[in-house]
């Protein structure tokens, strides 16, 4: 695992839309490295010939039948929106 440098911290922050100053990034880099080193200890376990375990519970993916059972609650879903108009969410213009 390559060490996390300040540039990587800034890139991850940008992708996550979190504003991080240079000073913060400098502080975060060693912290993130610490977390990764800690997780890397798992690599010490011998997992040859062991099937991946997707879940610790002995259950399969639950599925539902194809019925309309939800929705039609425009007021609820818009209730927390900072701005709405005629049933639309209104956001700052985002044109690519």
């Amino acid at each position: 695992m390559s060490a996390i440098d300040i540039e990587t911290v800034k890139k991850v922050a940008r992708l996550s839309r979190i504003r991080v100053t240079d000073e913060e990034a400098e502080k975060l880099a060693p912290e993130l490295n610490g977390i990764l080193t800690w997780v890397e200890q798992l690599g010490e376990v011998d997992t040859d010939n062991v099937e991946p375990l997707p879940s610790s519970a002995e259950i399969t993916l639950p599925q539902r039948t194809d019925l309309q059972t939800d929705g039609d609650c425009q007021d609820d879903i818009l209730a927390n929106a900072p701005e709405t108009l005629e049933g639309f969410y209104v956001v700052p213009k985002v044109v690519e």
Partner: protein, 484 residues
């Protein structure tokens, strides 16, 4: 002949792959119980799950899985017993979760193959790389306000199949043929309505150019290609753009571009700084999806006869040309109509009447095949009347025009109007004698070597019979009389 574009430095070959998003026909969304119907009022088909409220959990729609498997079988593809939903992370105003639930490393459907039919009757096989299920995003409107965008989440969370082709496509024509065939297959299967105007089928086109025999060039992905016409136009434009760029000494950057149907051009969509970095990882809210072979086989048993199978059957059983067969399979209704009309009759003749006369007449009248005043059985009867020589092909056109107008049975029209073909040689002989007697000058000229006058005599006889004389008999007897 392989399709190429001529540049300043010689011929260039196109390499094209397509990613088609097809909305799955279902009552509800992929992971929630809100309606998946098109055209509801804004933000009505939205649940707390679709709006990504904290704590909401996705529950997979079983029918959507069945539809995806069904489509995979229709694409002659391998169905994977084990597949995994992953999160594709990106920020956009119409994606409330901040990620799209998709499949990445383990899609539900693997490699398959379909046939495409080209205009010259040629058939080409195009490989399918994979098919996976994913959520659709919502819809943003940017043209309602100078500084704001409006967001409608009705489409958010609807189930999509993304169908990815191998880079086997080599021309704009092949690309549209591929999309048409894909559309045909999902419509036959009932897994997607194929409606490109409503956006239930959308295509992204990957294009690169190369000198014939070279390695693949750098490709660009063109988005927003939402009609067969747009597919054709954007490929022609983009290929030329890349060729000019390379020939001017530049290089093609791998990037996503947007097709603008108004300006008829492609342009870069995302700035390079924001290069794709989707950070896929398995969705912790969803266990891997396992489908049993028994279930897959149960679905296979319910598949309808698919367009390519029907096409081969029409060629083998009925002796139709590949081209006619490929036009007939374009719509399921057309296949049913043809099979009813052609039953126990000359199938080629029936196909000709259906494709050349009926479809043209319906098109002119603005009617669909199901609205046709001439029913399949009636068109078949008309063909029978031609086959047993009751009427000639020429008279049949008049009868057909009458049928289109009145919806009457052809036999009744022939009876009422006295259109039965005269095959009685005695009667035809009498007509010919009359014509010969009336035109002594022309007879002399013909005998003197003006062979072309033969047509004049045939015309005169047909006119006298009001078109009812059997043309073959007229030809034969006339030849005997004039040459004898």
């Amino acid at each position: 002949m392989a399709y190429t574009i001529q540049g300043e430095t010689g011929a260039w070959e196109l390499v094209i792959g397509m990613e088609v998003h097809a909305q799955i026909i279902a009552n509800s969304k992929l992971f929630s119980g809100s309606s998946a119907k098109f055209g509801a009022e804004q933000n009505h088909n939205v649940s707390l799950v679709d709006a990504a409220m904290p704590g909401m959990l996705p529950v997979l729609n079983e029918h959507c899985v069945e539809q995806a498997v069904r489509t995979g079988l229709g694409l002659n593809a391998k169905i994977n017993n084990y597949s995994v939903f992953e999160r594709k992370n990106y920020f956009y105003a119409d994606l409330p979760q901040g990620y799209q639930i998709s499949q990445f490393a383990h899609p539900i459907v693997g490699e398959g193959i379909i046939e495409i039919d080209l205009d010259d009757g040629e058939v080409k096989k195009i490989g399918i790389t994979r098919l996976h299920m994913e959520q659709d995003a919502g819809k943003s409107m940017h043209d309602q306000h100078p500084t704001k965008s409006f967001v409608d989440l009705n489409r958010s969370g609807c189930a999509l199949m993304e169908i990815v082709s191998e880079p086997d496509i080599r021309s704009p024509e092949e690309a549209t043929a591929y999309l048409s065939k894909l559309r045909m297959i999902v419509r036959y299967l009932g897994t997607c309505d194929g409606n490109m105007e409503e956006g239930s089928m959308r295509a992204d086109v990957n294009i690169s150019v190369r000198k014939p025999g070279d390695e693949y060039g750098t490709r660009c992905e063109i988005k927003n290609v939402n009609s067969l016409r747009a597919v054709h136009q954007c490929i022609e434009y983009e290929a030329r753009r890349q060729i000019e760029l390379i020939e001017d000494g530049g290089t093609v950057d791998q990037e996503t571009r947007l097709w603008d149907p108004n300006k008829m051009e492609t342009r870069p969509l995302r700035s390079k700084e924001e290069a794709h970095d989707y950070r896929y990882f398995p969705d912790p809210d969803l266990l891997p999806l396992e489908v049993a072979n028994d279930w897959i086989e149960d679905i296979r048993k319910t598949l309808p006869e698919l367009p390519d199978d029907i096409k081969h059957r029409f060629v083998d059983e009925y002796g139709l040309s590949h081209y006619d067969a490929s036009v007939l399979i374009a719509e399921k209704d057309r296949v049913e109509y043809f099979e009813t009309a052609a039953k126990d009759r000359d199938a080629k003749l029936t196909a000709n009447w259906l494709l050349n006369e009926l479809l043209g007449a319906l098109n002119k009248a603005g009617l669909t095949l199901t609205e046709s005043p001439v029913k399949a059985q009636q068109l078949g009867e008309l063909v029978s009347l031609i086959e047993d020589k009751t009427i000639s092909g020429k008279i049949a056109k008049d009868v057909f025009a009458d049928m289109m107008e009145t919806g009457k049975n052809p036999a009744d029209i022939v009876e009422e109007k006295g259109l039965k073909q005269v095959t009685d040689t005695g009667a035809i002989e009498a007509l010919i004698d009359e014509v010969i007697a009336e035109n002594p000058d022309n007879v002399a000229a013909y005998k003197g070597g003006k062979d072309k006058l033969f047509g004049f005599f045939v015309g005169q006889v047909m006119k006298k019979s009001q078109g009812k004389a059997n043309p073959a008999a007229v030809n034969e007897i006339l030849k005997e009389k004039l040459n004898g």
